[in-house]
Symmetry: C2
């Protein structure tokens, strides 16, 4: 921990020349009466990251941030007033007609060369950032047995396979008691399938099945679904607990351990080698957001995303309800009309999914968002989209889909915004590095892939000094430019991809895989 | 393990005098050509638990089992033939009009007295069967931190509190990224709330919260929701990770441990005392069912259910899609018209829930069910309902609801049939003992409450000798009557409630809490 800094000069942060509100940058907020250089005198005490009116606003006037109308003033608001959520009426969602389609031509950007990391090359061309044995499960019923086996593998086998980082039971709540023939069941099924094929597992797929579950191993992983290797001719890859050969619990445990050892031996042959930065598949996400998310951490991720694209890497952004109000920005940035249509299809499907449950995108925002200065989902969305940077959107993934060989650059991976569900779906897409920004703070981690956590403000970074990997609050403090922070994050990604542990990995804190299942359960 | 038995005489099991099919009782099935004493000669090889036509059936004729039409013959079927699922057309679901309402008058049954167990009395009158510290969580985000703390509590604190059996982190996938204001969100919310109030946690509720989640601690447990004790005046019961007081990860862990110790001290004062059998709250369930489920294990549970009701205890049966086809039996057995209407309301709501996802009750059956001889959901339902015995249905719980003080006797707890979701909801209802029948075999267990597992057939009981607690296959083998087995199970329940460990407890195998959330996620 470093000593607390002297208070910085009062300052507001405006995101776009058209904006008629700006937010307080100072840690701890500003008192009523504070005079802002080149700005208004505050009429109210305004917390950090909350909005201040830059001019007098009359009732009904658009309130503009990020150059976008985030709401309409519900009454007259004097310059220098705190513009909080109770003073704003939220605009309705833009419909899907007459959207700008692939209208923005790409910047001519210089390819970024010479950046590399030390990764594990896989036979299918993907690259792992960790060397993990993943144990795939077909159904929650086997979770207790797998957990028991994982403990024994970790204690008894792993010490002999020094190049393997860990063993991970891919437990989940799916597999039985579900309407598996419902059309939307494809989402959880392909999610589990594709997670088992994540680059960090090196193609060493092994499955623990119960036997009578709906999600049978051949349905989960039909022949041909392993792009990497498939030696099921030897029928060695699935342990089925109900098989007649198992007499007694230890027979099941030992069968899992024997199978695990076959894979551990092969995984132990993997060694890190120098690979170009283009092998990164980065999943970006924000959670526990505050108004600084869209000012410090997410814009820096936007810079990093542009660097990744220039380096030939893949970078995914997600969170349907947080891009819904910027659908026109997304369709305009689509590389071609097919991509634009795929974006519309995903967001329209999600609108309908929410409507079935009689809610809409505004169900996204949390008490913490509002306490953190985000008045509504429109404002939150603008601060969330900014992490996608400025590149063209090259392709779109439906929830649980895996990136194809040709899908590189900036990808919109359509997912719910829920942190643990979005992360689970990005793992299925093939993510080998996760970067996560938070303003309120979350100890989020994944067992399957490193998660770099970026604090939006210095106060959080100081308090959670051994949980947050990056302090983006330095931008609000005026210590660092967004561009410099973006480059710092890009370089940190390469270090973490090469094996440097994140805080979540050091403590071994991780969240459960949580599947997105829009189909009914039975 | 006992030595395999000599093969028993060929025999079929008929459930009702009206039945025109019966199932093969013999372990291993019977060969074509086998002559059945007082029955047909088999035309086909028929696996154990599969159906045999007792008479010639003509195309279109009702096929009757449990005295109920389980399907219509799709073609002529000769006596002695194997009647498998491809030969049957499933009847459509009975509609909700003109049902018999509370028409069956209760048997005059003798109260059953003199049975007791050794349990932990709670202040609210409930009784625990285990002495556990439960750590309630408001959101999945905190799961990694809670897991870390649970390990340290188990290693460092529990050895000093010998009367406490274990510490359980009540982790779940809810709390954020959900449409928490959707009408149906009440289900997952009350489920988490009511699980924290389960009798096995002794009223010692402590909560770990992130801070910015949608499911705020006061929404999860509003003042007054603790029927047992509520000392939130001291604000000591919630650890909020985002609180400014926490500097560094260890500050969070130590705060959880300090709070845990307060509760461990009080839990350690609990001692077992003799209580009447009426303090049992038994949740009954079946999973991984085969056709013997409805012949051996479930009928024996029916006997045990009747004994429990006679002893003044509470016994719940559940699994909406497995009672749907017997709705007329349930409404007829309702204690009064209000109870009958509550049953209809729950099943109608569930029909609509399934229809929203474009499926129906037939989505329940699994490949294992069919391989095990259950042709369709109607046949499966008849074999599932039978575990409710013959008592009147005294009340109905909606999913996630908790039993009220006056709700005793036979209760229909409306839940999905999914094993881990049904179990989670029965925990919320206040279950202190779970009994689970299985034909195909599942290693199912819960950390929150003992689970007695009953094998429907001897083959499974022999192979899974250290996972199955009871072998109901002895009924099919002709060794034991259903009535004798029902009494044996009743007595075993009292022993397990008194502290005898089940196999799942000995191995510490347990499944995750899986919430039923019909509302959208965001
Ligand atoms: Ca977000
Ligand atoms: Ca998120
Ligand atoms: Ca666990
Ligand atoms: Ca069942
Ligand atoms: Ca079940």
């Amino acid at each position: 921990m470093t000593a607390p800094k002297p208070p910085s000069k009062p300052h507001l942060i405006r995101m776009h020349p058209r904006d008629n509100v700006a937010i307080v940058g100072n840690d701890g907020g500003l008192a009523a009466g504070t005079t802002i250089p080149d700005g208004p005198t505050l009429k109210d005490k305004v917390p950090q990251a909350h909005k201040v009116a830059l001019t007098d606003l009359t009732a009904g006037q658009p309130v503009i941030r990020y150059g976008v109308t985030i709401g309409y003033a519900l009454k007259d608001i004097a310059a220098g007033s705190w513009v909080h959520e109770k003073l704003l009426q939220m605009p309705s969602a833009r419909n899907f007609e007459n959207l700008p389609i692939a209208t923005i031509k790409p910047h001519q950007t210089e390819p970024l060369t010479g950046f590399t990391f030390e990764g594990y090359r896989n036979d299918d061309g993907s690259v792992g950032t960790r060397n993990l044995l993943g144990i795939t499960t077909t159904v929650q019923c086997v979770a207790g047995v797998v957990e028991f086996a994982v403990q024994r593998i970790r204690n008894e086998l792993l010490p002999r396979y020094k190049n393997v980082d860990d063993v991970v039971g891919l437990e989940h709540s799916y597999g039985c008691g579900v309407a598996i023939d419902a059309a939307e069941a494809i989402i959880p099924i392909r999610t589990v399938r594709n997670i088992s094929l994540n680059p960090n597992f090196g193609g060493e797929v092994m499955v623990v099945s119960l036997g009578c579950e709906k999600l049978q191993p051949d349905r989960l992983l039909p022949p041909g679904s392993f792009p990497i290797k498939d030696d099921r001719s030897t029928s060695v890859n699935t342990i089925c607990l109900q098989d007649a050969e198992h007499v007694g619990f230890m027979s099941m445990i030992e069968a899992i351990m024997r199978e695990a050892e076959i894979h551990l031996k092969r995984l132990n042959q993997r060694t890190r080698e120098t690979v170009p930065a283009s092998a990164l598949v980065v999943g970006m996400q924000c959670g526990g957001s505050d108004a600084l998310s869209g000012v410090t951490a997410n814009p820096a991720l936007g810079i990093a995303a542009d660097l990744l694209v220039r380096a030939g890497a893949t970078v995914m952004f997600s969170e349907n309800t947080e891009v819904r109000d910027g659908v026109d920005q997304l369709t305009a940035r689509a590389a071609n009309p097919d991509v634009a249509q795929a974006i519309i299809d995903q967001l329209e499907w999600y609108d309908n999914y929410l409507a079935r449950g009689k809610v809409d995108r505004s169900a996204n925002t949390t008490p913490g968002n509002k306490a953190g200065g985000l008045s509504n989902i429109v404002e939150k969305a603008m601060g969330s989209i900014i992490k996608s940077g400025s590149a063209q959107i090259s392709s779109v993934l439906a929830p649980g889909e895996k990136l194809g060989a040709g899908q590189r650059g900036l990808v919109y991976a359509a997912t719910p915004a829920s942190d643990f569900i979005c992360g689970t779906l990005q793992l299925a897409a093939g993510m080998n590095l996760h970067i996560f920004t938070t303003g309120r703070g979350t100890p989020y981690g994944l067992a399957e892939c490193p998660v770099i956590k970026v604090a939006t403000r210095s106060d959080l970074a100081r308090r959670w000094h051994d949980l947050m990997d990056v302090n983006a609050g330095r931008v609000a403090d005026g210590e660092l430019s967004i561009e410099a922070l973006g480059m710092e994050i890009f370089k940190l990604m390469l270090e973490v991809a090469s094996g440097r542990k994140t805080w979540a990995e050091q403590w071994k804190i991780h969240n459960a895989l949580v599947l997105f299942n829009p189909a009914p359960i039975t």
